[in-house]
Amino acid sequence: MQDGADRFLPLSPATLHILLALAGEDLHGYGIMQDVARQSDGKYRLGPGTLYDNLQKLVEREWVQELGRRPGDDDPRRRYYCLTSLGRRVLAAETARLADVVREARSRLQIGSPRRA
């Protein structure tokens, strides 16, 4: 399934959120941080150290590609990142795995819940 992307699973929460943020559009680091906070309604926040540590790892694995600076940006120090095809496959595999987990959890919770007379 998913060209062997399963061997990278499960992903850490930080990796999952970063890939998820980059799945929609190309973002710079600060944009990724804001998007991650938005995904979790502010419950999960990435610090810059954690973010760039994960980005370093993801670039090495070629799940994420660095696009460099954009001239029109308001801060010239920002670099943009995008998801590669491999990163997208890994994200899809993780999403499918999580969907299975959620389905299994819902199923068990319904069985385990007390029946009403």
Partner: protein, 299 residues
């Protein structure tokens, strides 16, 4: 202030990480709210530890050093071997394992019923300056004509090995015939050259406890034959065997075997007792300063 501190912590990151992401991290700090700046600083500190401890694979600077360094004439100046960086988890596991093995070894030594390790090692005693000065005076007596004739003296085998440092020792002195130790004119001269104060000697295992036969078996007067015989006294004192060459100091003999003894104060000299057909000790060989003296026991 906080920004300066943040930049300092960023500078401490590995060069590759700092060059690649330092500007962006600083940019995030500049755009963040002021109340979040302290949290970002903490995050940067955690990142610092994480990058140095857990991410050694992302430190390429040493790899750059491996490439040949070109000089102005394009000749490589030196090469270095490829660096080996163990994983941090491997280092931690090794530390824990080493500590466990060390503790287990200490426990085994302390509580084991096998006592093979209870070996007494004689302490090494070095000569002090106070002991060497009188001996330098004693060098004047080296060419004393009273030394036994060459026929009674032959080269002795080195024991212990000659590589050991050997302090200077006075030569054997020959007192007048048939005189007791420390008596007579010649003895008086020698006494003045002997050290006045005996230094404290560390405790060693007593000869009585180590020898299978009583100390009295060795005790006696041994005489090196010659025109002017040399007298050697062997005494048992406080469970130890003492040797006194007439005119010299008493020296403790440390048993190496039932017949071989090392002279404690020198380390290089030794004594061997020889037995006759009945098993009684009747002779003594003294190996001293590369010479061998054979002395017969007075009955």
């Amino acid at each position: 202030m906080l920004r300066t501190l943040y930049r300092c912590v960023l500078r401490l990151h590995p060069p590759r990480f700092r060059n690649r992401f330092g500007d962006e991290m600083l940019s995030i700090l500049d755009h963040a709210e002021k109340r979040a700046a302290f949290g970002l600083l903490l995050d940067c500190l955690v990142s610092l530890a994480r990058q140095w401890i857990l991410r050694p694979q992302f430190h390429p600077d040493l790899a750059l050093a491996n490439s040949p360094q070109l000089t102005s004439d394009f000749i490589p100046s030196f090469y270095t071997l490829r660096p080996f960086r163990p994983r941090a988890t491997a280092v931690i596991q090794g530390l824990v394992l080493s500590t466990a093995v060390f503790c287990a070894t200490c426990f085994a030594i302390r509580y084991s019923w096998i006592h093979l390790l209870h070996v007494r090692i004689p302490e090494v005693q070095f000569e002090s300056q106070a002991m060497q000065e009188p001996r330098s005076n004693g060098r004047a007596l080296l060419h004393n004509p009273a030394v036994p004739p060459p026929s009674a003296v032959k080269p002795a085998p080195a024991y212990p090995p000659a590589t050991q440092a050997q302090p200077e020792l006075p030569e054997l002195q020959n007192p007048p015939e048939n005189t007791a130790p420390n008596s007579g004119e010649s003895s008086q001269e020698i006494i003045t050259t002997a050290p006045k104060k005996a230094k404290p000697r560390p405790l060693v295992l007593s000869a009585k406890a180590m020898l299978p036969i009583p100390l009295q078996s060795y005790v006696g007067i041994y005489i090196v034959p010659g025109p002017r015989p040399l007298t050697i006294w062997i005494r048992a004192e406080r469970d130890e065997l003492m040797m006194e060459v007439v005119g010299g100091q008493k020296q403790v003999l440390v048993p190496v075997s039932s017949t071989k003894f090392a002279v404690y104060s020198t380390g290089n000299d030794w004594v061997e007792f020889l037995k006759d057909g009945d098993g009684t000790i009747d002779r003594l060989q003294l190996f001293r300063d590369g010479q061998e003296f054979v002395a017969g026991r007075q009955r």
